[in-house]
Subunit: 138 residues, 4 copies
């Protein structure tokens, strides 16, 4: 298990659909934002600034499972609570809970891998979890 780090979201008018509620892919965008925020709050640099390993492109998703419990709308503030629930050799599992105050709005479980891109071939591949992640994110 890891620390739990929170990230605040102001829901914008443009995040909502003709039903007047958040268009659901935006919840996944916010989980992604909260994932990056998690690593930056743990002291890791933005992906573009990594040198060891070099050519880091970030942590592409392998799988995500998301459950939607309540709608949300613009003018509201939501909080995404993000943690790592499992560290495997080449992947890790993120758990995100999106809340409005104490009320659970939606939750997601993601499996992601740290990936680099070979600058010669352009090929993207998963690498073992970097040591700095194991050291700073638990």
């Amino acid at each position: 298990m890891s620390k739990v780090i929170s990230y605040h979201i102001d829901v914008l008018f443009g995040d909502c659909d003709p039903a007047g509620i958040v268009f659901f892919p935006n919840f996944l965008k916010w989980m992604d934002a909260s994932s990056l925020n998690f690593f930056m709050q743990c002291g890791l640099p933005p992906w573009r600034a990594w040198t060891e390993p070099a050519n880091m492109i970030g942590t592409p998703l392998i799988e995500i499972r998301t459950q939607f419990h309540k709608p949300a709308t613009y003018g509201e503030t939501l909080t995404v609570h993000t943690e790592i629930t499992e560290f495997a050799r080449k992947t890790f599992t993120h758990r995100h809970q999106v809340k409005r105050g104490e009320q659970l709005i939606c939750e997601g479980t993601e499996i992601r891998a740290f990936c680099t891109r070979d600058p010669a071939t352009g090929i993207v591949k998963a690498i073992p979890l970097p040591d700095v992640v194991l050291r700073q994110c638990r």
Copy 2:
């Protein structure tokens, strides 16, 4: 089981992230688009035009599980193949396969409900699958 209906996507520059690949929430946006296209190809009107039942807001998601197999990038054309794999009383299950030619890029399984909004209270609630859906979408 239902018919399978295909929907074409041109991947835009703005759909891709700093890693040069599709930012994953866009795959879910395209599955959502393919879901609406599925119903319209089955002969149903856009949500705003429904009168029976009235105050239809569409088919909000209850749960989605998505697996990402290969990256995609701008300038490519993808096809979303969408079907309904289960009709329950108040929910249905969508299966979406996103392909580039024959290659499977990602796939998603969604549980959705048809929902109306009470105009007086603003409350959104799931309704039994409308008959027209059972008649025209299998």
Copy 3:
């Protein structure tokens, strides 16, 4: 002239494009968010809660002119400074400056109108600026 109200933006990974910089339509999305924030900070309710006039849909854009001075990227915080520079009978002019610290990143001038939708016909039309706007937003 009006008050100037500031709105903070965390630039997300998914807001950036394959060039690694903010995909420009997102600047316009943030100006739109800052416009709504402006009105809410002036004490106006969210559009869906207006009763006088009823059927308010918000302030659709008539025209926008935007200049881009510097790129921005994820992990940065930007501030949108928003004011109303002109109140006309049925339109108003917004000026937005997007800054990173003291540095001007981009700026936009928008002409917008308050609009209602006739519930019977669905027709959207501009209305004279509501009194509450003239009273509370200068």
Copy 4:
């Protein structure tokens, strides 16, 4: 002046806002898509594949002026008609007209520059219009 090249857009549910109409930054996203399509239809490769000049990141916007004439909504098909109305030394001017059938929905005038990124310093700078652009896009 240049050729005029058309690009088709299916308006998605998620492209629309709580007013039930296209959220305006999406029109700019589609103009951007039509710009890229314009260059690809002229026979230019996607930005990532350019070698002469190398390190091409695309054609960032310097300025855009957009006028919105009519709303649009989901389930509609729009066409963006794109041309280059001026070729300057380091910039060019795009004109986009977004139509639904014969009806003009919105139009935009963009000033853009071809830009490369120095791989050592990360600095983005405008370059003279590449010869291939002058040859193939008029």
